[in-house]
């Protein structure tokens, strides 16, 4: 007798599954390429959207007075390639409606009595309202409007009025961010992208971990051996920690070199967060693979999880602006906590004390997911 009595947990069997998965991953060039190419692609795509000055953004102009100054302001705006004027109204409220309906991304309002008050040196307000649910576009608008206004009024304010052409400008531009009061900026997006990429790839690759074995019939061989559920789980998820690591390095490199995002926080805190977050996603995928009967179902379930992650984690919409029920769902998603953690460490100079709350929650999610996956694992074929 050379076969040993089966033990509860054996590293040798974890290694067996781990090595097998590594070989399969290496052979499956297509998936491997996608896992590496995806972060690069996404960061570049988003990066370009952020970096390139946005242009031709639909803008409504609401001129509540008809004066030489407001007319030359409108003319100057029409010259701009940043704003595309889709409507000029004179009625208060019409521009708001367009912003609400999404027909316009920006609304520029010249209030009543603008010229009169400007001449009297009261520094009247020009209102710039932005649909900031598209924070990339909203960011550049103020920068674009200032030179337009300066150029427009400079020509008119001559002669006796030329003294108004001093600093500060004889008017004020007041910006209002609608729908996104937190005012997400581009710096938030690249680090957040890391979370989205990890969610997408890690959940996807492990969601088919078991269903692929079931569909190919290899599950029967696997289950006929003494291998234990926890050994299969570890062996099948560990290889992807490396993939997640490579993705993390790629995205962070891009963030720092291409987009010059300042990294001010604790690298250790960030890496701890990335590690727990990656594991949590791997377990989420693995849990899916214990539920799905086919690879097709696994993919559908992955998207079923992916969509709320994008929508309710604070990536797409500001977390605190969501209704309570949505925040509850959001709290259960790994991405929510990762986003907070990554913002804390990359943008707010945060380290361990500040991130430990989110790290703890990520760990709880990880433990719960692992427990569920192990409980769901079927040791038999029926």
């Amino acid at each position: 007798m050379t076969a040993r009595a089966p033990s509860r947990f054996a590293l040798a069997r974890v290694a067996a599954v781990f090595l097998k998965e590594l070989i399969q991953m290496r052979r499956d060039r297509f998936t491997f390429a996608i896992m590496i190419a995806m972060p690069v692609m996404q960061v570049l795509l988003f990066g370009f959207a952020i970096n390139n000055d946005p242009r031709h953004l639909a803008t409504a102009v609401e001129l509540r007075e008809d004066s030489p100054l407001s007319r030359s302001f409108l003319a100057a705006m029409k010259q701009s390639s940043f704003f595309d004027i889709v409507a000029v109204t004179h009625q208060a409220g019409e521009g708001d409606a367009m912003l609400q309906s999404g027909d316009a991304t920006f609304l520029v309002v010249i209030p009543e009595g603008f010229e009169h008050r400007l001449v009297r040196g009261e520094r009247p307000e020009i209102l710039l309202a932005a649909d900031a649910s598209d924070p990339i576009a909203a960011g550049g608008a103020l920068g674009a409007l200032e030179p337009i206004a300066a150029a427009a009024f400079e020509a008119d304010l001559d002669g006796a009025l030329s003294n108004l052409n001093a600093t500060p400008a004889p008017y004020q531009i007041v910006t209002q961010r609608r729908f996104n009061p937190e005012g997400e900026t581009s710096f938030n997006i690249v680090p957040a992208l890391l979370g989205v990429i990890l969610t997408m790839t890690m959940v996807m690759v492990t969601s088919i971990a078991l269903t692929r074995e079931l569909e190919r019939g290899t599950m029967e061989t696997l289950l006929a051996t003494p291998v234990q559920p926890a050994e299969i789980m570890l062996g099948k998820t560990l290889p992807y920690i490396f993939v997640g690591g490579v993705q993390t390095v790629l995205v962070l490199l891009a963030a720092f070199t291409l987009f010059h995002i300042p990294f001010t926080g604790s690298l250790l805190a960030l890496l701890a967060g990335v590690t727990v977050f990656t594991f949590a996603n791997l377990m989420l995928g693995y849990l899916i693979s214990t539920v799905a009967k086919t690879q097709m179902q696994a993919m559908q379930l992955t998207f079923f999880v992916f969509l709320p992650s994008i929508l309710l984690s604070g990536f797409m919409f500001p977390f605190r602006a969501m209704p309570n029920w949505a925040q509850w769902i959001g709290e259960a998603l790994p991405l929510t906590h990762f986003l907070r953690l990554v913002r804390e460490t990359i943008l707010k100079e945060g380290g361990f004390p500040a991130t430990s709350g989110d790290l703890l929650r990520l760990t709880i999610i990880l433990v719960v997911l692992t427990g569920l996956a192990l409980a769901r694992f079927r040791k038999t074929l029926d």
């Binding site: 076969a3 089966p6 006929a224 051996t225």
Partner: protein, 309 residues
């Protein structure tokens, strides 16, 4: 415990899939070192029974042991000492032959792993193909690989589920030579099969249909148990003789052996009448004989249609 005598000893084994009873109060006692044939039409429950024995399925009723361990509670122990070859090839097609064997050897935590894998490759004549992907192998080679994989941990019990289906006769002969070598070394084998020429090689045979065991006897006793009657009939024109006998009441089976026909049926009187009715054939000769194993198996197989429904 009588585990020394009966390596598999199960009683009342019952499995239902959604209300349909697939294995119906089945008892099976497989003596140590024997080659036990498991016969039955498609869908009769052979695969399900084998899975129940090695703990891949949970029985709805019944109990028993394999290798002395309880089939429900101690399946981990059973798995550690059992080699199970699935009906459908279920190793990794995207792994090479060596990688597959190495993977399995690791799962059984074998010592001298590399040596064992090398030996297994040499034993089965797979050495030259060691780095070939399993998915690119032909049916016969896949069978060899699957057998090597389920033998790599030197199990005491082999469960082979239609191991030679779709394999050419030469490969099938080699395969059985291998099984008999293992049996001589004390390995117990339960093998399901569709082929009569394989059935006759078994020491003992259980025949099931619709999940129920109909026959269970030493192979040589099977004809007597089945009670199949047979006549040896000769004539100058065998083809015409065959045509005249075919379809007569009582004639269930006509097998041609060289220059003679073996005419078989369950009803002695009807069969005798049918044979007499062709006595006018030139060169006619007839003799009542013992039905052979082969005829009995052809009869059993022909008698029961597929159980898939």
């Amino acid at each position: 415990m009588t585990s020394e005598e009966a390596v598999i000893d199960v009683r009342n084994l019952t499995k239902r899939f959604g209300g349909k009873t697939v294995v119906d109060h089945l008892a099976l006692k497989v003596p140590k070192g024997s080659i036990y044939g498991f016969l039955g039409p498609n869908g009769s429950g052979k695969t399900t029974t084998i899975r129940l024995v090695c703990g891949l399925l949970r029985p709805d009723e019944g109990e028993g042991t394999a290798l002395g361990y309880d089939v429900v509670r101690d399946s981990a122990h059973i798995k550690a000492r059992t080699g199970y070859m699935t009906q459908k090839f279920s190793l990794y097609e995207d792994l090479s032959i060596r990688e597959n064997l190495d993977f399995v050897a690791r799962l059984y935590a074998m010592d001298n792993r590399k040596q064992r894998v090398d030996d297994a490759l040499a034993d089965l004549g797979l050495k030259e193909r060691a780095s070939q992907l399993a998915g690119t192998l032909s049916g016969g080679w896949k069978q060899r690989l699957a057998l090597a994989a389920c033998m790599i941990h030197e199990p005491d019990l082999l469960l082979l589920d239609e191991p030679t289906a779709g394999v050419d006769p030469k490969a099938r002969r080699d395969f059985w030579d291998q099984i008999r070598r293992y049996a001589r070394a004390g390995v117990t084998t339960l093998v399901s099969t569709h082929y009569m020429d394989e059935a006759v090689q078994c020491d003992r045979i259980a025949y099931i249909a619709y999940g129920k065991k109909l026959i269970d006897a030493p192979t040589k006793d099977i004809p007597a148990q089945v009670g199949l009657k047979a006549w040896r009939v000769e004539a100058d024109d065998l083809t015409r003789l065959h045509d005249r006998l075919n379809g007569q009441p009582g004639v269930e089976l006509i097998a041609r052996f060289g220059t003679e026909l073996h005419v078989c049926g369950m009803d002695d009187a009807l069969l005798a009448a049918a044979v007499k009715s062709v006595a006018d054939e030139p060169g006619y000769q007839a003799e009542h004989i013992e039905a052979g194993l082969e005829e009995v198996f052809i009869h059993l197989m022909a008698q029961s249609a597929d159980n898939m429904k």
